[in-house]
């Protein structure tokens, strides 16, 4: 009997986690690089994100080649020469929303802490995120800065002036209940 308790306990725990997932299938991630030479902007409207409301865990996954640029050739350069999306097709984020209260209506600002992986490099990030709950639907949005250098992305010296050292990243995810 004593041995059954923990198994039962685990079962309960995992059973509880099965439900209450929400997913965003058309999340938007955009990034900007502003320099005096050139402004580069790219947008990805097919970013996936999922939140497990039972334990506040969040995951984000995006395909690098789904970023749309102002110029078609920039997209090719981005995938082929910078992020090498043949080798590293995805960027992912995995983390936890700190002090998240799923029940609270309206707006709340929380820190999301986790690991962001891109171009084969994983970084610990803490992102200030605005969480809105409108009519039972959750919307997450925010901005953070990423350093090109951190992700082992090589910029040729000739183009160093065209690409900013810090890239500002915008995101917005609208969630729906997830049915597996």
């Amino acid at each position: 009997m004593n041995k059954l308790i923990p198994i039962f306990f685990l079962f309960l725990l995992s059973g509880q986690q099965q439900q209450e997932k929400i997913i965003a299938r058309q999340g938007r991630v955009a990034f900007f690089s502003y320099t005096s030479v050139e402004n580069i902007k790219a947008e990805n409207n097919q970013v996936l994100s999922i939140i497990d409301l039972s334990n506040d865990e969040i995951a984000v996954s995006m395909l690098m080649n789904a970023f749309v640029f102002e110029k078609a050739l920039m997209r090719e350069h981005f995938n082929e020469s910078y992020v090498e999306s043949d080798i590293y097709p995805k960027a992912t984020f995995e983390g936890k929303i700190i002090d998240f209260d799923p029940a609270q209506d309206g707006e709340q600002t929380r820190m999301v802490k986790g690991t962001f992986s891109m171009h084969g490099v994983s970084k610990e990030l803490e992102i200030k995120t605005k969480i809105e709950k409108v009519q039972g639907k959750y919307i997450l949005s925010g901005t953070f800065e990423a350093f090109v250098k951190d992700y082992d992305i090589k910029v040729p010296p000739l183009l160093a002036g065209n690409i900013a050292k810090t890239i500002s990243v915008d995101f917005r995810f609208e969630y729906q209940p997830y049915e597996s």
Partner: protein, 299 residues
Amino acid sequence: MKAKELLLYLFLACGTNSMFAQDLLGILDEEQQAIPQYAEASFKFSRIAIGHSIETRKKGILDIFVANRFWNTPADRTQSFVADRLSTRIALEYGISDRFMMGFGGTTWDGLFDGFLKYKLIRQQKGNKGSPFTVTLFQNASYFSEAVSNPAVEDDLSDRLSFTSQLLIAKKLSPNFSLQISPTFIRRGMSYSEADPQNHFAIGFGGRYKLGGHVSFVSEYYYTTNPIESFDTYGPFALGVNWEIGDVMLQFMLTNAVNMVEDAFIAQTRNNFNFRNPNLNFGFNATYIIHFKRGLKNK
């Protein structure tokens, strides 16, 4: 004992927690499967070195393409600066849709004016699904504008036109390495000798190896199965380096082909590839790319 057990449960619970975090990304992975992924940029440019690659320009992109060949005459001493001879082809090439492009150009040395259409028929997909190759159809027509001094040679409009049809088949074998095979049919207009066939079959081989993010090494060779009989011809061969910097693309190459239009260099290259003048040509192509279509709706 109790405390230890409790710790164990806690540990296990934590374990399952992290397992579920994995699962979240796992769920997203499953969601992503549905989108087909195509192999992009098997080659960076619409040419490998001398011949066409499977790549077409994306919609709304105009290439201002200037190709040059420099070579020396066999004379021991000349008074030319750097190179004795120069041929330039200036062309405008435009992407009508993401898979269809056209271009027009003129060459100074051989007086050929040419136009081409290129359509990407099948796209290589990543993974095991879909087509393992990219297939592009290519058709060009060229007009020979030079005067013909021999009155025995017919030089009506129909004689001055040549046509090249190509089936370009390529595979991006790895992120760095792409190979292409190009079966070619050439209908040559001008007939200088009865012995020469006017229809030629040829096959081209080309490859690209990426040396770095922006630099790749390319090579290309064409073999003609039924070459011209009245003078010696050789298969055009090229070794080159392609370098792209933003909106500019530069190609440097060594080749034995003087001409830059398909029917001319595939079937009518008179030099072999070696270092004796005038056989070796230094080629320099520069392309400036202008985007007429903006990708993002709201700036």
